[in-house]
Amino acid sequence: MTLELSLNQQPAHARQGSSIGQPLTRRDGFLKVTGAARYAADNHPPGMLYAVLAVSSIARGRVAALDVEAAKAHHGVVEVMTPKNRPALAADPDAKDHPFMFRLDLLQNDQVRYPNQSIAVVIAETLEAATEGAALLSPRYESLPARVGLDGAESFVPRGVGIGSPAVHHKGDVEVGLKSAKTRIEATYETPAQYHNAMEPHAIVVAWDGDRLSIDTPSQGLAMAQGRIAGLFGIAPENIHIRSPFLGGGFGSKGMISGPQVLGILAARLVGRPVKLVLRREQMYGPVGHRAPTRQTLRMGMDGEGRLTAIDHHARTASSTFDDFFEPAADASHTLYASPAIATSHDAVRLDTGTPLFMRAPGEATGSIALESAIDEAAHACGMDPLEFRLRNYAEVEPMTGKPFSSKALRECYRQAAETFGWASRPLQPRLMRDADGFLTGWGMGTATFPAIMFQAEAHAVLRADGSGLMETGAQDMGQGAWTAFAQIAADGLGLDIDRVEFRAGSSDLPNAGIAGGSGHTATAGMAIHNAGAAVIARLADLATGNEASPLFGAGNEGVLARGGRLYRRDDESRGESYAEILTRAGLTEIEGHGKGAPDPASQETYAKHAHGAVFAEVKVDPDFGQIRVTRLVGAFAAGRVINPRLVRSQYYGGMIWGISFALHEEAITDRRSGRIQNANLAEYHVPVNADVPSVEALLVHEDDPYVNALGIKGVGEIGITGTAGAVANAVWHATGVRPRRFPIRIEDLLG
């Protein structure tokens, strides 16, 4: 018999948790520093063949010919999979049953709809032979002109943006607000297409056994991947076992199973042997998602006191010609600054590109850099310090909805970060500070925010008669520290020392832990773990309190504490006994419990739930050459309860460095004539290197939130980008007097 606790139910037993909050080092750390951590592509089942994709070098048209014979003649090549011989699927890869089902390119025809689309798969005895075989296919195309750029096609208003948010939203009348304003600003900002570029390329190792599938592949959402593959192949989800103990980064690009991963499964089906397929770096610029480009126009009005009278935020974005994902950039203006009138709107064009997808802080990152730049412009137009201006327009309730915040320690973030940074001595006017070497020096700031999202998750807990415990949930660790943080929550939930808890995750045969995304994994799977622990402890307590032989007899469920592998009477802690004693007396080797994690619909309705932060940046700009260096970053973040400060600080650092990257580095450049990406590699698609990141500090601001969930967890994975990108841009303005309006900021923009 198992017991289930409903979502957000407070545990029946107060426990003196000792693992949560501790800065433990990563439990998977030893494996990672010794090279023993096994990532998907490290697997090598017996008889395995290597599959290599051939991808399109045109953006639009059809494949007219492939030299399959030449490829097959190459020594070691076993088979070439093209639309002609690709095994049948049970579902149309272009079907879309729900918004999270993205259309895939699985060799369903000869059409090309974006560059780097898969057009064939070569399977060989060695990687070298498969690679050469793919080159020998020498495709010939019939191509059509590529639709490129945010003006490259007719625009339209999408039905929804992001995850089902309306494309157009407003409260109050922004035109009235603008008209009544004493000061107004209007500015347009452009952000580029960006690619996730996780260090680990998407990889899959597949072995079929009849209609059963064994898969190693990195996945941020094991259950979703399992369901998608089951649907495509017409097999039962439980016949598919996916292992993803470690992801070499995901950032959203491994949230859904991608076309190339499914092609690996098809290739294994075709040849009847295990197959490994790993994307080459350049092949990651197309079929595995990206952050769409945006062009955003902000209009703001301010009264004589510097109070906003209107915010109007419009974003143009782009999706592919064949599927829908619309970067919800303008929605960033819903939550941060108080204004009687706010309007947000989106429109979009369809381009010959792979479908864009969630990329770390989708909408929030793009929207934030524009909003924070515009706020900086507005502050300057009012002659106010940017921090003072933000405090003047501080939102006491969520501006768009009027809902109270479940918690909001943003004032404290501003205060701590500003003090640590030394913001108070900043001159109001730009181009007034120089360092000893003559470099123009500027200070800028930005506000960070990210919603506290929860999905659905389940966990299974076991207590054993030897006094140990087991917690199982199919959680995914892409670097955020799931192996460690969830074990900490499990230890507290089970009332055990962490060393007595076995924690299993990263496999699809475990309870569904939901997706590792939206900064919601720790809250969601954490609550499932917490509730599973509470469920099994409740059963254990029943065994003890109902038995006359127990010192806990008659204490009742309300009166028991679980700690260090023992239950105690709440009213008399000298009376207690070990889990082992309770189970042994009952003649049980183990007992189990189940728990779920999910958002609480009531609090969802009542409260606006967001994490907040403040980021301050110093940049130095060469006055002659325009070269920009970020010399200092200080961020302070309030994101509810911190499970492990060591890991959380790493998440903030990572996000802040992505913010530097957004402002100064990242951009996929599309050739306007061919529609191809010109810099699809890690040398020319710039991401920060160690030397680009001189000094970063992240302050963890205490925040209790009784409403987000029983554990008080918000989420830390994405918030660091927001605020930071704008802070860097605003610091560049302060250094140079030139307002950056397209990103990444280019040297020529500063010299122009």
Partner: protein, 159 residues
Amino acid sequence: MTRTTVPVHLDINGDHHELQLEPRVTLLDALRDRLGLTGTKKGCDHGQCGACTVHVDGERVLACLTLAAQVEGRTVTTIEGLAREGEMHPVQAAFLEQDAFQCGYCTPGQIMSAVACIREGHAGSDEEIREYMAGNLCRCGAYPHIVAAVRQAALEVQS
């Protein structure tokens, strides 16, 4: 095309391996696919990311830009060869303690670079560490902690 293979003798982490390889096989693919030494990672296969950094005769080398046949008769050390008798190398221990990684995929390359960086005498200041560790990309953004780990390990190794 007929298949041509050549005998290649590789000295990896103190173990001798005799392989029959096509000349086009890189050291990285030989390690990963032929010898099962999968700790060394492939991030770009173009020498741009540093994930495949190993030591050849004690110097850091990108295994994806090195043909296996080129290291015949030379000494190769990979991440698997760094620990001694189960004891982590000081750089490995420092990476763990300083949380100098997140996803862990670039980590073997970072650690191999860090060991060489210290040995080269380029870990004298944070600025120098940042510069001499700049060839190893970390998309998770663990750089501040990588610098802290190299600084800590450099002090231990030198003392």
